[in-house]
């Protein structure tokens, strides 16, 4: 039987993982660095291109594995996030002039291998057609992250991974418990049959739904389940933080959409209220948490909690939700990585707090401009991609039949609050004068050529996404079919 073209990407990803593992263990130091590092990010980029080229028009099923057209943008996001995370870990690997403040990763190759495994897990999630594959995909996506979080030799990293581990396994317990109840209520594991049998009057169904949502809530760091995010973002090594912040959220969202438009179809209005509840709490707590933040990583954690609040709001709407979330994720991931790249260049020789970033515009205007663009894209300021991304989330919540106008007003006001703390960052780098203590200690900022190139590419990408409608209409046509 001929393999459907869309499956090639998954296979390519698996083989890339094996190649990386083999080259890590077998090859000599010089060749290993080339294959492992460059091989990985080039491979991921190629796989990203491959998913775009082999995007199926209609659903292609291979046994229990279903490639849906609307998941292609999500897969693209996973590949991009993976590649960028690999690039970001450049100065944590051995053999480069600029060593990072927190030392080197325990083993660069294993770190990259785990990134690719996690990406493969996310591909599996998007391809799942029944609860079992879904569960396996979710676990394959999260477990490597526990190990990656512990990759650095300092106390923070190990403490972060321990906490992440415990909270993660609790959420797995919730998911599994939920799945068992779903099976109980729907007497089957397959999504299509579940879609018919899971009706709103079945109490088991509701217990299952609640527990599964709790598990996925952890993965998205939505409000009641967000407490782990600031600590783990702060403790984990920078590329892992970036990867968690962008890719694992995307996977969680893909899974959530899969469930909401798959088995939970008939639960309808009550589900919308749950998402409204989650959205309101995440937005508020995320914004309030980020208001007084002084350290960059924790700031990004709280801001990602707030962003998830906006995304969940879109889920309360009708059919516009899927494409708007896909587009928003693409822009959000690029914006996030720009911020992490800039801070990574900064943080290689001083702790990444806002007071150290004062006067950045005078020290290196390029980094300051990139951080400004990423902050304004996250805030949703027009010329950048973030504007249309965030605006479509508002429109998604206003679909005919599913209007939630109070929610939109609440979200719009929250957007204003979120603008305040993104502007605080811009104020620090452009306007506040560095106090004498800050700039005396930090030497000039050294930027690796590869990281400078990726920054420029990402900035151009985010502006083009905001102005040129090609990507936007591609995602919407895919989601429409």
């Amino acid at each position: 039987m001929t393999l459907p073209t869309a499956l090639w990407t998954d296979i390519a990803l698996g083989s890339l993982a094996c190649i990386i593992l083999l080259s890590e263990s077998l090859l000599g130091p010089r060749l290993r660095k080339a294959i492992v590092f460059h091989g990985a990010w080039i491979g991921l980029v190629l796989i990203g291109i491959l998913t775009v080229c082999t995007a199926p028009e209609s659903e292609q099923a291979i046994g229990n594995y279903l490639i849906r057209p609307w998941t292609i943008p999500f897969r693209l996001c996973f590949c991009i996030a993976g590649a960028l995370s690999v690039l970001l870990s450049r100065n944590l690997l051995s053999g480069t002039g600029h060593t990072h403040r927190r030392g080197l990763l325990v083993s660069g190759g294993v770190h990259i291998f785990l990134i690719i495994c996690s990406t493969l897990g996310m591909f599996v999630v998007t391809g799942a057609q029944d609860l079992i594959t879904f569960l396996v995909g979710i676990e394959l996506a999260t477990i490597p992250l526990y190990v990656q979080a512990a990759m650095l030799r300092d106390d923070f990293s190990s403490e972060a991974s321990a906490k992440y581990l415990i909270i993660g396994s609790l959420s797995t317990a919730f998911t599994v418990f939920g799945i068992s109840y779903l099976y109980g209520a729907g007497n089957s594991v397959h999504f299509d049959t579940l879609a018919q049998t899971l009706t709103a009057d079945k109490h088991f169904a509701w217990v299952g739904v609640i527990f599964v949502l709790a598990g996925i809530g952890f993965k998205l760091s939505a409000a009641p389940f967000h407490m782990w995010a600031p600590d783990i973002y702060d403790g984990a090594p920078p590329p892992v933080t970036a990867y968690i912040a962008s890719s694992s959220k995307a996977a969680g969202l893909a899974g959530l959409i899969l469930l909401v438009y798959g088995p939970f179809q008939q639960l309808g209005a009550d589900l919308e209220n749950i998402f409204m509840f989650l959205a309101i709490i995440s937005m508020t707590i995320g914004n309030l948490g980020a208001l007084r933040q002084k350290r960059f990583n924790r700031f990004m954690a709280w801001s990602s909690v707030a962003q998830i609040g906006f995304v969940l709001m879109a889920l309360t709407g009708g059919d516009l939700a899927i494409p708007s979330i896909a587009f928003y994720l693409l822009v959000y991931i690029i914006g996030n990585f720009i911020a992490f790249f800039v801070v990574n260049c900064l943080a290689s020789n001083r702790p990444e707090t806002f007071s150290n970033m004062r006067g950045l515009s005078k020290q290196s205007p390029l980094l300051a401009l990139c951080l400004l663009i990423s902050m304004f894209s996250l805030a949703g300021i027009p010329p950048l991609g973030g504007f249309f991304g965030k605006f479509e989330l508002f429109l998604a919540a206003a679909q005919p039949g599913h209007e939630h106008f109070y929610l939109i007003l609440f979200a719009a006001i929250n957007a204003v609050v979120s603008l305040y703390y993104y502007m605080i960052v811009v104020k620090d780098i452009y306007i506040t004068e560095p106090t004498h203590a800050d700039n005396s200690t930090c030497p000039a900022i050294a930027i690796l050529p590869s990281q400078r190139l990726t920054l420029v590419v990402l900035v151009i990408a985010i502006i083009v996404l905001g102005v040129w409608p090609a990507a936007h209409s591609w995602i919407f046509t895919l989601a429409g079919s």
């Binding site: 609860l131 079992i132 569960l135 396996v136 676990e139 477990i143 526990y146 190990v147 512990a150 030799r153 106390d155 923070f156 190990s158 403490e159 972060a160 991974s161 321990a162 906490k163 581990l165 415990i166 396994s169 609790l170 797995t172 317990a173 599994v176 418990f177 799945i179 068992s180 109840y181 099976y183 109980g184 007497n187 089957s188 594991v189 600031p230 600590d231 783990i232 702060d234 403790g235 924790r298």
Partner: protein
């Protein structure tokens, strides 16, 4: 023995897990508690498969627990590895003392 009896058993087991997780100070003990909760899910699946109405495919009920066990073991292996590495370096196993990362 009927469905509700089994379900109540697993629910009790689940709540034991949660109670253990909340009160234990040692990380290994907390992992143990999580293991309890995962096993509760197993009992659920088997119970539903056994008491499933006619016509439903009951064999799924047995495949699902196997996957759950596999996943649990994978997770616990990774967990123990991480915790052992941490113990070797920081000589601390008490979760209350892991509070360097705070706001």
């Amino acid at each position: 023995m009927n469905l509700t009896a089994c379900l109540s058993l697993s629910a009790i087991l689940f709540s034991f897990g949660i109670f253990g997780l909340m009160t234990r100070r040692k990380i290994i003990a907390m992992l143990l508690a999580i293991e309890l909760m995962l096993n509760a899910a197993l009992i659920n699946c088997v119970a539903f498969a056994y008491y499933a109405p006619a016509g439903a495919d009951t064999d799924v009920g047995s495949i699902l627990p196997i996957f759950i066990v596999a996943i649990t073991s994978a997770e616990m292996a990774v967990a123990l590895a991480v915790i052992v590495a941490m113990y070797r370096k920081r000589k601390v196993i008490d979760i209350e003392r892991l509070e360097d990362l705070h706001d």
